[in-house]
Amino acid sequence: MSAIDHYINAIMEWGAAEAREDGSAATEAHHLLLAMAADEGTAAHRVLAAAGLGRQAIRDALDREFEHSLSAVGVSVASFDLPKPAPAPEPPKFGASARLAIERGYAAATGKKDLRPAHLLLGVLDTEIGTVPRALALAGLDRVDLMARAREALAGNSW
């Protein structure tokens, strides 16, 4: 397996663990973003870290997006005080948004040989719709600027 295959496997596995941790039935694009932020030694990680987006910062931004979206229909997550359920033992499904993110990542590269982690970060960021752009906007982060930084890193040939 090539290095990029190992990387893709790693973020899919890590993303699945994130999904299970937050009680999601499927691994979604934002779980892949959490995985990318946790996996050091890549340009994707450096771009996120430079913007202050460590794993915990992204988790906090996602929690805020969750609360914000619920509040739009008058639901307060604070009013539910049930204990945290035990996590599911089997891995979650691979969700539609994660699939789209991976496809967009491939599309951002000129062929599989060129494909690197920052392309996959572009794949997660390259949408105005859904949880990731909403969470970034609520955190006051410029998604388009993050994409520009990922492209710069790719132009510099970094892994």
């Binding site: 009680g23 997006e65 969750f66 619920l70 035990a86 033992p89 949880t131 909403r134």
Partner: protein
Amino acid sequence: MPVEDVPVPKDPADSLAAVVALRLLADRLEDAAVEQAMRAGWSWPDVAEALGITRQAVHKKHAKRLIAAGVALRRRQ
């Protein structure tokens, strides 16, 4: 809050995101509520009836997780 005070999102993106968030919240609530019921000694048929789904469906969705969590489950009668 009173029903008349519940805001209606103006932006479709907010309405759709609310659906996604409510689904996740409902999934979490279901996991927690079924676990709470089973720890309190409820039977699968009673939990299924309360949720309005079949016994097979509730068992399939939650049994492995609760067994892995060490919850003592009542035998099906």
